[in-house]
């Protein structure tokens, strides 16, 4: 029988979207629903003297205007720290600013009206009197003694710091034949999901039940958050995440506005809808990255990496995000440095600074692009210093494919990776010798092309080590309920969620194979806390690996149940039977009874079954990862660019990736996860940046000013796979969603710098805008003429 795991099944749920029948929260309308609009601080830092809502309250359609005293009392403040980040601080946060405004866009008042337009009309009439204070916009300055506080409720501007080091790191640098260094700056960017954040909170005072329709990846996390922070019992809180128009980590954080919608619904007893407009998305969705990193690498004479030392300063806003914190990104930056390499010694320092900007937190490939870009820029400089080819220096230093298990200098345990095989495959795909020859001849015509490569390690399938150990109520396990319907069709309700990556499709493929049916006979329900079992849902590349394994094990338990029942019905030893092509077959492969017939008897004629036999054709199973704390994946990417040295414009000509995510459940969907991820890595490498002025004003908060990657700028992306399944699970799947994002920017930066090498120019800042490229060329020219 053909297995469906490994097949490029198409997504059934894509058909609804193609027909315009998506069901997004922003599409939903409920009876008596009110629309929420927030009045926001126009300045980055200040003290509220007065908020006058009298004129706004008289506007047509306005039902209620809340300021902090009326709204915040309904909600227990939240604090974005984790117990395992020792010494971390973050002041409490509540829905509306109470005395201090902490960033441009900080909500200070909430207007509820019959329509969004009427609420916006009223918002313009709210009079704010805020005494301006000097904002903290530079993280380095913020950490100097005596610096003004970004958040007056904090001890100082240091949110968190950490040092990670091996005993011999200093000796490694002293004894090194070569030491290469870099200082790099990584701009802020943001998720820009096409559907903005959207929530409808619906509190029914008669039953005490709160239903929240919420465009999120993590409904169970929000069920817990809403119950605890609003003093409701968990059983009275239902969170429904229907179709979600993109998330990428951004929609799993707690935001003032969603909490405001819930609080307002609790007070008013009516459904309250909040959908961010695009400017609000830029001013309130978490931002990502914002790092300044100094790094150096020690090598011996033949190019063997001996050690790395890095210092990462990351700037996170005026409070740490809740419940995952704004420190996890930096924590992963310093732990992923040098991860692909056999590097014995290391020191990583992390400083996380408060500042008066939108908070930063987890976004696709948390920390990975930073660690990868710094490591791979240093490897590139090391190749120059040792006069080695970029492929050769990596071949000398990558952890050998037969050297596992391996523990990295930062303490990560790698079960089994395939760096060498990936490098060899990439070499074959790119044919660097041919590229070099072509580039040399093009240079003579004034065309400057370059290529760059970047190896990476990705963290997937996290267990409780990520958040649970730090006290966060974020599930590391998932649950599935699999049942056979009277018709013999199968239904699976599972806690992992769908945002278009194909979760429901792969779950159907996995379950189908356990029960000997086609995936078309398996329907899957996700995204509703009332109809699916509790679990972690979809983040950190855990949907396929952990969710898939949960479905597999649940499916096998149902299979055993069906076979036991079938054994009684056909009077055979269940151990001699198996499920195939929708029927129970015996050792000879002959069909003995169909699933449909079993379903009919178990449902409509249980009286004909032998006494005492269990005819319940529903099983529940929960699975938590065991074995390694994470299942790491690996791969390598290559980028080919052409730089116009007159204008600074870059054409991205081609991108390659070789990726190893373990067992591939659906090649079509895996490749599309990779491609989307690559483009989300190339965006911030070349275009995307949340630009602030010295006063902490975001100056490009629209889709006309903030540049996102568009079709005409993106290359075709060639993909190859190595498959190294994890032994931690039966399924063997690891995650893949963040692999593309992890190293695309690093490869692209190495490619741009390869193109610029003859000019002596080098980019060390993202995004690599035309202006920055021209500045680098100018700086190199000045250095040549004025040494």
């Amino acid at each position: 029988m053909t297995l469906h795991i490994g097949q490029s099944a198409r997504r059934e749920n894509a058909r609804r979207h193609l027909a315009g029948r998506g069901r997004f929260v922003s599409d939903l309308t409920l009876p008596r629903m009110l629309h929420a609009v927030f009045v926001r601080s126009p300045m980055a830092r200040g003290r509220i003297l007065e908020i006058d809502t009298s004129e706004a309250s008289a506007c047509p359609g306005v039902v209620r205007i809340f300021t902090a005293p009326e709204l915040n009392v309904r909600c227990t403040p939240w604090v974005g720290t984790l117990g395992h980040f020792a010494g971390m601080q973050s002041p409490p946060m509540n829905i509306l600013a109470e005395e201090e405004v902490l960033w441009t866009g900080h909500p200070v008042a909430m207007i509820l009206a019959r329509s969004r337009a009427e609420a916006e009309d009223a918002a313009e009439l709210v009079m704010l009197d805020i005494e301006d204070a000097e904002p903290v916009t530079d993280g380095a300055a913020a950490l100097r003694p005596g610096a003004p506080l970004a958040n007056p409720a904090a001890r100082d501007n240091l949110c968190y710091e950490a040092v990670l080091e091996t005993a011999d790191v200093d000796a490694a640098f002293v004894g090194a034949a070569h030491v290469v260094e870099t200082s790099m700056t990584f701009g802020r960017h943001t998720a820009v999901t096409l559907e903005p954040r959207a929530v409808i909170a619906d509190f029914d005072a008669s039953s005490g039940a709160l239903t929240v329709h919420h465009g999120t990846q993590t409904p169970y996390q929000f069920q817990d958050v809403y119950a605890r922070h609003f003093g409701l019992s968990e059983g009275k809180v239902r969170v429904i995440a229907p179709d979600v128009g993109g998330s990428f980590g951004m929609k799993l954080h707690v935001y003032n506005e969603e909490m405001g919608a819930v609080a307002a619904s609790l007070i008013l007893g009516r459904p309250v809808r909040y959908v961010a407009d695009r400017l609000e998305s830029f001013l309130s969705d978490i931002h990502a990255r914002d790092h300044i990193v100094k790094g150096r690498m020690a090598l011996d004479a033949d190019g063997t990496i001996l050690a790395m030392e890095v210092d990462d300063l990351t700037q996170v806003g005026a409070v740490s995000a809740y419940p995952r914190t704004s420190a996890a990104e930096g924590n992963q930056v310093i732990r992923l440095m040098g991860a692909p390499y056999r590097m014995p010694d290391y020191r990583g320092r992390l400083s996380v600074a408060f500042q008066n900007k939108v908070q930063t937190s987890q976004y696709r490939a948390v920390g990975h692009p930073i660690a990868c870009a710094v490591t791979e820029a240093l490897v590139e400089r090391a190749a120059e210093a040792t006069e080695l080819d970029p492929f050769e220096i990596r071949a000398r230093n990558l952890i050998a494919d037969d050297a596992y298990p391996h523990v990295s200098a930062t303490g990560y345990q790698f079960e089994k990776l395939s760096h060498q095989a990936c490098l060899a495959k990439l070499h074959e795909m790119m044919d660097p010798e041919a590229l070099r020859a072509e580039h040399a001849s093009l240079r003579k015509q004034g065309i400057h092309r370059g290529f760059g490569i970047a190896s990476f390690v990705e963290i997937t399938n996290p267990g409780a080590a990520f958040y649970g150990v730090g006290g966060a109520r974020i599930s590391a396990q998932d649950g599935a309920v699999v049942r056979m319907m009277p018709s013999g069709d199968i239904h699976c309700a599972i806690s992992v969620t769908e945002q278009g990556q194909g979760t429901e499709t792969i779950i159907a493929q996995v379950v189908a194979d356990q029960l000997g049916v086609t995936p078309e006979r398996v329907s899957v329900t996700t995204g509703d806390t009332a109809t699916t079992p509790s679990g972690g849902a979809t983040w950190a590349c855990r949907g396929a690996g952990i969710g898939g394994e949960t479905a597999l094990r649940a499916g096998r338990r149902l299979r055993d149940r069906i076979l036991t029942l079938a054994g009684a019905l056909v009077q055979a030893d269940p151990a001699s039977l198996r499920l195939e092509n929708g029927a129970v077959v015996d050792g000879s492969g002959a069909a003995r009874i169909t699933l449909e017939e079993i379903g009919r008897i178990a449902t409509y004629r249980p009286d004909t079954l032998p006494d005492g036999i269990d005819h319940s054709l529903t099983v529940a199973h929960h699975f938590a990862p065991t074995g390694y704390p994470f299942d790491f994946t690996n791969g390598i990417q290559g980028s080919l660019v052409e730089v116009d040295v007159e204008t600074g414009l870059v054409r991205i000509l081609k991108h390659w990736i070789v990726e190893d995510c373990g067992r591939i459940i659906n090649p079509l969907l895996v490749d599309e996860q990779i491609r989307g991820g690559v483009v989300q890595g190339l965006g911030p490498a070349f275009f995307e940046e949340c630009q602030y002025d010295a006063d902490g004003q975001l100056t490009n908060g629209s889709l006309a000013d903030y540049l996102v990657p568009m079709a005409c700028e993106m290359p075709d992306i060639e993909i190859a796979h190595i498959e190294t399944p994890t032994g931690d699970t039966i399924l063997g799947a690891k995650g893949v969603g963040e692999a593309g994002t992890a190293a695309a920017g690093a490869a692209a930066m190495n490619a741009v710098n390869d193109a610029l090498r003859p000019f002596g120019a080098r980019l060390t800042q993202t995004p690599m805008t035309p202006l920055r490229i021209l500045d680098a060329l100018d700086a190199a020219r000045e250095e040549r003429t004025d040494p």
Partner: protein, 166 residues
């Protein structure tokens, strides 16, 4: 003061009182319940709200509902019902040229307009035609593939028709 709007939406005559400031997108989504037209930026940059007005793609967020007076408006729901883009939709499905589905309406509108104007576009021409359509999920390649495949299907069909006619 509301204005009585008479227009044709997906082949149906519609008379509806609308505020002068109501955008065509809000009218379609809220008054007509046609939520397949999405709003991503409300400033004509992202392409999620594209609809066909008298056959040409327009940003429903930038057009006022009252401007549709006497026009024919076609949304993704209408295009689906008539089957006019069924082959394109099927190719998007085959190629997995969508993930979250929020940009898909606009992508289909741009693709339909491109293929009407240029039945045999190159990959670069397809990418250019999508320059006003933002997708955060796919990386675009699958969308380009799906449109290229549709162009080639349609060329094949028209060749067959021409041969039959000859």
């Amino acid at each position: 003061m509301k204005h009585l709007l008479s227009t044709t939406v997906n082949g149906e005559q519609v008379q509806e009182a609308v505020s002068p400031r109501t955008s065509l997108a809000d009218f379609l989504r809220e008054d007509m319940g046609l939520t397949g037209t999405h709003l991503g930026c409300e400033m004509g940059a992202c392409g999620a709200c594209l609809v066909l007005m008298d056959g040409a793609p327009v940003h429903a967020c930038l057009v006022l509902a009252v401007q549709a007076e006497g026009c024919t408006v076609e949304t993704i729901e209408g295009l689906t019902e008539t089957g006019a883009a069924a082959d394109l939709q099927a190719r998007f499905h085959d190629r997995n040229a969508l993930q979250c589905g929020y940009c898909t309406n606009g992508m289909l509108m741009s693709a339909q307009a491109l293929l009407a104007a240029n039945p045999d576009p190159s990959r670069d021409e397809i990418r250019d035609a999508l320059s006003g359509n933002y997708c955060r999920c796919t990386g675009y390649e699958a969308i380009v593939d799906a449109i290229a495949a549709t162009a080639s299907d349609r060329a094949g069909r028209s060749e067959t028709k021409t041969e039959a006619a000859q």
